[in-house]
Symmetry: C2
Subunit: 335 residues, 2 copies
DNA sequence: TGGAGATCGTGAAACGTTTCATTCCACGAG
DNA sequence: CTCGTGGAATGAAACGTTTCACGATCTCCA
C-alpha cells in the first residue's frame, strides 16, 4: 500500500520519531535533517494516515454538522458560517444531510460518534431524540441550530420567528392594510405557528381583532406551486384581499405569480411580504419584501458555542442564543 | 475516555476477539455469548472507534465528493445521486465544497487522501490539476463530474452542452424566430462556449447565418441581476428582440423581469428559453421553458464508475460518459 | 580538562481494532 | 475407549502514528 512513516525514515536514514517530529514539530529537528526527511517524503509520495494519527492522539479536530436539507439556502448559509469559524479555530467540519429523516439522522450520529468528532451541530428532525441524548451523555458536546431544547441540556441558536411575524404584520398595517391574508404551511411546525403568533400580536397591537382581521390559509407543503394554487382559488372568490403575508418566500413567489396572472398589480392592488429573503427574492418579477434571518451569524454563533464547550467542558454553561430577524422592504410592498 | 472493546470483553467475561466477532461476524459466535456481549455493549455505551478499525483494516468504505458550489441546485442533485448509489453499495460519502477555490480544493484532496478514501468524485476548479494527478498516481481512483479530461486519464461524466444549445435554438427557430438574442456568461467557460456553439449549429442548420442571426451579450456573472440590467439596457435601444436564449435559468429570470417591467408580454412579445431547469423555473411569474440536465443520473453514473474502478482496478477501462439534455417547454415560449 | 547545558535524535510503548492460527470442548462414530 | 470432527472462543500480532524518557554529541566556560 502507500508508504508509511517507516519507509520515509528508512529512506532518509533517520528514526520514525524524527519523521514524526518533522511533520508535527518541525522546530525540534535540525535544518539539514528536516530537508533530508522532506525530500524523502516527496520522493516517496508519502501522505500521513489520519486514522493512525487520530487513534494515537485519542481525539480529533473535527466537528459534525447535520442539517435538514442542503437544498435549502438557509442551511448552506448556516454551513458557511460554521465553516468560517471552524477554519479560524483549526477545526474541520463534516457535513451531513439528514433530509428530514430520523433514520438518516441516527445513522450520521452513529458515524460521527464512531469517528470521535469533538462536537456536533445539529438541526434535529425532532427535538428530544434519544440517540442525540445518548451522544451527549457519553460526552460529545452538542449545539442545536434553529431549534431550542426546552430542557436546556445544551446550547442552542435560533431566530425569533414571533418577532419576524410581528415585523411583517406591522409593516403591512403601517401601509394601511387592516385585513391581512396569511398563507402558511402546517401550523404544527413551530416556525409557522410562531410567525402567525407574531402576526396576531402586531394586529392586536394596532387595535384590531386578530380573529377577524387575519385570514389564514394553511397548506401542507411550503412551496410555490401549492401557494399559487391556493391563491388562485382565493382570488377567484372575491377581490377583498389587499395584503398577503406568506410564511416563506417560495410561497410568496407563488402568490405573486397568481396575482400577476389574474391581472392584479403588485403592490398597487396587492401587497406581498415573504419570509427568509432567499437570494432570488430580490430578483423576482416584482422584487419581494421579506424577513431576513442572519443565517451566517447563526452558523458562526453555533460553532463558537460548540468550540467553547469543547475547550472548557468544566466551566461551560449552556446558552440559548436568540437572534432577531430584520425587515427588508422592496417593491412588492413599496406602493 | 470512552469504553473500548477491551472493557466490553472484560465485563462480558470473554476475549476481545469474541467481542470483535459479535460486531463483525455475529454468525460466528454462539447465541448466548452474543447476547451477553450485546448486553455489555449497551450497558457501557460502547461505540466502535472507526480510526482503529480503519487503521487495522487498511482500507475504508468511503468516497469523497468535491463540488464547486453547494448552493447550486445542480450540485446537490448530483450529490443526491452519488449518495443513492453509495448507499446501495455500502459506501459512505464525504461531501466537500471547494467553493470554486483551488486552495480549498487542494486542502480537501489532502484531507481525503489522509483519510484513505477509496475514491474521489470531483468537479475540479480547473482540469489538469497537479494535486489531483498526484492523487491518482498514488492509486486513488478518480472520476470527473461535469468535466472531461482531454488526456482520458480517468473516467468522467458530463452533459452535452452543445446539444443543449442546439435544442434551445431549434425550438425558438421552430416558433418562427429568425433572430435570437443570446445572454450568456464568460465564453471562456466551456459550458457557455458549448451552449453558444450549439445555438449556432441550430441556426446554421435552419439555413441562416449564425453571425448575423445571433446577437450575443456576454456578462461576467451569471445571475439574475446582471442579466436584468443587461436586458433593460438592450430593450431600451430598440424593439427588435423577439426571442432570447439565456445560458442559465437565473439569467433567464432576470431577462423575464426586465421584459415584464418594460411592458412586454411573454411569450407574445418575447419568447424566453433558459438552461438548467432549476426547481423555480416552473414557478416563475411566467413559467420558463428550459433545458433540463439529468443531474441525479450524472451523480449515479459517476458513483457507479468510481466503485467499478475501485472494485476492479486491474480490468477497469476509463470511460467518458456523456448525457443528453432535454427540452422542457413551458409558457415562456408557448405562444 | 571537566562538567553543565543545550541541541538533536532514538527507540519502544501505546492507541483500539481485526485477523488468524491455535486451543478447547463436546459429541458421535467406529 | 479412542479418534475424529467441527463449532466456539482465545490470544497475540499487526496496522501507522505520536509521545516521551533517554542517549549522544557539541559548545562554552570555569
Amino acid at each position: 500500500m502507500s508508504p508509511s512513516i517507516k519507509d520515509v525514515a528508512e529512506r532518509a536514514g533517520v528514526s520514525v520519531g524524527t519523521v514524526s517530529n518533522v511533520l508535527n514539530h518541525p522546530e525540534r529537528v535540525a535544518e539539514s535533517t528536516r530537508a533530508t526527511v522532506l525530500a524523502a517524503i516527496s520522493a516517496l509520495g508519502f501522505v500521513r494516515n489520519s486514522s493512525a494519527a487520530q487513534l494515537r492522539a485519542g481525539t480529533s479536530r473535527s466537528l459534525g454538522l447535520i442539517v435538514l436539507d442542503l437544498a435549502n439556502p438557509f442551511f448552506h448559509e448556516v454551513a458557511r458560517g460554521v465553516e468560517q469559524v471552524a477554519d479560524e479555530l483549526g477545526y474541520a467540519v463534516v457535513l451531513c444531510n439528514s433530509d428530514d429523516q430520523t433514520a438518516r439522522e441516527n445513522r450520521y450520529l452513529q458515524v460521527l460518534e464512531e469517528q470521535r468528532v469533538r462536537g456536533v451541530l445539529i438541526t434535529p428532525v425532532e427535538v428530544g431524540s434519544e440517540r442525540l441524548d445518548a451522544l451527549r451523555r457519553r460526552g460529545t458536546p452538542t449545539v442545536l441550530v434553529d431549534r431550542h431544547d426546552p430542557r436546556v441540556n445544551c446550547c442552542s441558536v435560533a431566530v425569533d420567528d414571533v418577532v419576524g411575524g410581528e415585523l411583517a404584520g406591522a409593516h403591512l398595517l403601517s401601509l394601511g392594510h387592516a385585513r391581512i391574508l396569511h398563507v402558511t404551511g402546517p401550523l404544527s411546525l413551530r416556525q409557522c405557528a410562531d410567525r402567525l403568533a407574531g402576526l396576531r400580536r402586531a394586529v392586536a397591537a394596532a387595535g384590531h381583532d386578530p380573529d377577524t382581521a387575519i385570514e389564514v390559509i394553511e397548506e401542507r407543503a411550503m412551496n410555490a406551486r401549492t401557494a399559487y394554487d391556493a391563491a388562485r382559488a382565493r382570488f377567484a372568490r372575491d377581490d377583498e384581499v389587499g395584503a398577503v403575508f406568506c410564511a416563506n418566500d417560495l410561497m410568496a413567489l407563488g402568490v405573486l405569480r397568481a396575482a400577476l396572472s389574474s391581472g392584479r398589480r403588485v403592490p398597487e392592488d396587492l401587497a406581498i411580504v415573504g419570509y427568509d429573503d432567499i437570494e432570488f427574492a430580490a430578483d423576482a418579477a416584482v422584487p419581494l419584501t421579506s424577513i431576513r434571518q442572519p443565517t451566517q451569524q447563526i452558523g458562526r454563533a453555533a460553532a463558537q458555542l460548540l468550540v467553547e464547550e469543547c475547550d472548557h467542558p468544566r466551566t461551560h454553561a449552556h446558552q440559548q442564543v436568540m437572534f432577531k430577524p430584520e425587515l427588508v422592504v422592496r417593491e412588492s410592498t413599496a406602493g
